[in-house]
């Protein structure tokens, strides 16, 4: 039996398909404006890789900011629960999860595989991936590279603004003073880490700490966060996928709760949907 988790984030959409024993495949794509179409496309791609159809999937759980836009999902679960489940499966020792997404950041507290508390910033771009995106755009450096570049800094500059817009101005000022891009980026990562740290510490940071989301792919930010936290943090091999993994884990549990007849009915219905919904072509103007 196969289970699917689909995580539609504000910036990146992820799909993970697993069976009882292991993760079978994952697909990661940027989220466009059309969540529904993307959900279909990315699901199709994952299925094709495994030579499966939607009817082969026992249960689908959708999560993330765009989770309501997945018409073929059997259940919607918040990304906080899904991240927690995903990380707990990968690293049972983790008690604090710091998730740095494209447009928000979260702190999640776990105890014995249960969600105990969380904090979230989705009001302000500071301390989210968006902040780093704005600055990397300004510096003309690829977002994927800023972490590595910042590690070469010898004298990190001090970025005092919390606000992304003001930090952007501060960056311009530093550039005009001749500060190197390495030093600016190191300062930017420190500023971002400080913002995230002061939010997450509200729920008390306890060992072990894992970082997930796009921000975890940035080694400069992870190092700056480690400095703030005061001990090494765990970064999953693919930090983008933990939400989808958690969703797939929940999918496999949910399957056990329903009868065989219900399951077959679900799969048949999905096959019908597969014909009507997936074949729909975009209508233009």
């Amino acid at each position: 039996m196969f289970y699917a988790g689909l995580d539609i984030g504000s910036t990146i959409t992820k799909v993970l398909i697993k069976n009882e024993r292991k993760v079978c495949t994952t697909v990661i794509k940027p989220t466009g404006a059309e969540h529904r179409r993307l959900a279909n496309e990315i699901m199709d791609e994952a299925l094709r890789k495994l030579n499966l159809t939607t009817a082969n999937i026992s249960y689908i759980v959708a999560t993330g900011y765009g989770r309501i836009n997945v018409p073929f999902a059997d259940k919607q679960v918040t990304e906080i629960t899904c991240h927690m489940r995903g990380i707990n499966w990968l690293f049972p020792s983790v008690k604090t999860i710091i998730d740095i997404g494209g447009q928000d950041s979260k702190g999640i507290k776990v105890d014995n595989g249960k969600l105990v508390n969380f904090v979230m910033n989705d009001k302000c771009a500071a301390g989210t991936g968006r902040f780093l995106e704005v600055i990397s755009d300004l510096l003309g450096v690829k977002l994927d590279d800023i972490g590595e570049i910042s590690l070469q800094s010898t004298r990190p500059t001090n970025i005092s603004s919390i606000c992304t817009v003001f930090a952007e101005q501060e960056t311009l000022l530093q550039l005009s003073k001749g500060t190197s891009i390495e030093d600016i980026l190191a300062g930017i990562h420190r500023a971002s880490a400080s913002r995230i740290h002061s939010m997450v510490k509200k729920i008390k940071i306890e060992k072990d700490v894992a970082i997930t989301g796009g921000g975890a792919k940035n080694i400069g930010l992870c190092k700056a966060l480690e400095e703030r936290v005061g001990f090494p943090v765990i970064v999953p091999p693919e930090p983008l996928i933990t939400g989808a993994l958690g969703a797939a884990l929940i999918a496999s549990e949910e399957t056990k709760k329903i009868s065989k007849e219900e399951l077959i009915e679900k799969q048949l219905k999905r096959r019908w949907e597969a014909v009507t919904f997936f074949d729909e072509k975009p209508t233009k103007g």
């Binding site: 302000c124 902040f131 817009v165 003001f166």
Partner: protein
């Protein structure tokens, strides 16, 4: 008969005034554009040129603003808030509350009868609470900042913005454009969002009348109208709301050193 210069070197605009015997002789405004030194020189030239004076004729310089430390002459540094309060009170002596919408900060200042600061609140942590957000959205809409006010006044159904962050608000404005919202309604919605921020500060501070609005934001008639309605007060606008800080700097330095 000494000549006094007042300078207000802001993050967006540099302002200069020349005063004699507490009378305004001339003024000048130049964009700061990240180069404070050249902005200061340009704005001094403008003000001196209009007054037909040379820098050697000047007896005292008083200055405030973020970039004041770049002034290449000897000067007295005075706090922004004191200058705003004194300068505005010079132009409009009846005012008791001053709302300043600057590029990097917004302030609410309670002013005494003598033009001194009684109390103040500053929002300078976030671009969404400052005039900066007006520039960001003007750029998205490809509208001249000067025209924002007129367009806002024509709005019939202001757009509701759900976020308080300038970066997210920019994205939201782009989405609203894509959904077909008119520029007028987007700008009016923006004015409401900024007003909500300032109103929250005003609520903490209390608004004693007369109330005045200064800074770049005061040039935006749409913002002034929406803000006045929301706060239930008539907001006075000085003839030149940008130079109040510079006037205050000149007056205060005169009183201190003159």
């Amino acid at each position: 008969m000494s000549f006094i210069i007042g300078l207000d070197i802001g993050s967006a605009l540099s302002k200069a005034v020349i005063m004699q015997d507490k009378t305004l002789l001339s003024s000048g405004i130049s964009p700061s554009e990240g180069n404070f030194l050249s902005a200061i020189n340009s704005v001094l030239q403008k003000a001196l040129g209009k007054a037909k004076l040379a820098i050697s004729d000047i007896d005292l310089i008083g200055a405030c603003g973020l970039g004041a430390s770049f002034i290449p002459h000897s000067f007295h540094k005075i706090s922004d808030i004191s200058c705003q309060s004194r300068g505005t009170s010079y132009l409009l002596p009846t005012i008791r509350t001053l709302i300043e919408i600057g590029n990097q900060s917004s302030r609410i200042i309670q002013v005494t009868e003598q033009g001194k600061v009684a109390d103040s609140l500053v929002s300078d942590k976030c671009a969404a609470g400052s005039g900066r957000i007006l520039q960001i959205v003007a750029k998205v809409l490809k509208v001249d900042l000067k025209d924002m006010g007129q367009l806002s006044l024509k709005s019939t159904q202001p757009v509701k913005f759900t976020t308080g962050c300038a970066v997210f608000l920019e994205t939201e404005a782009i989405s609203r454009v894509a959904e077909g919202a008119s520029r007028e309604n987007i700008i009016a919605g923006l004015h409401q969002a900024l007003t909500a921020r300032i109103a929250a500060m005003a609520h903490r501070m209390g608004l004693k009348e007369d109330c005045v609005i200064t800074g770049g934001g005061a040039k935006d008639r749409g913002l002034v109208k929406i803000m006045g309605e929301k706060m239930g007060k008539t907001l006075l606008v000085p003839d030149n709301p940008l130079i109040t800080g510079a006037i205050g700097a000149a007056l205060i330095v005169t009183e201190k050193k003159g």
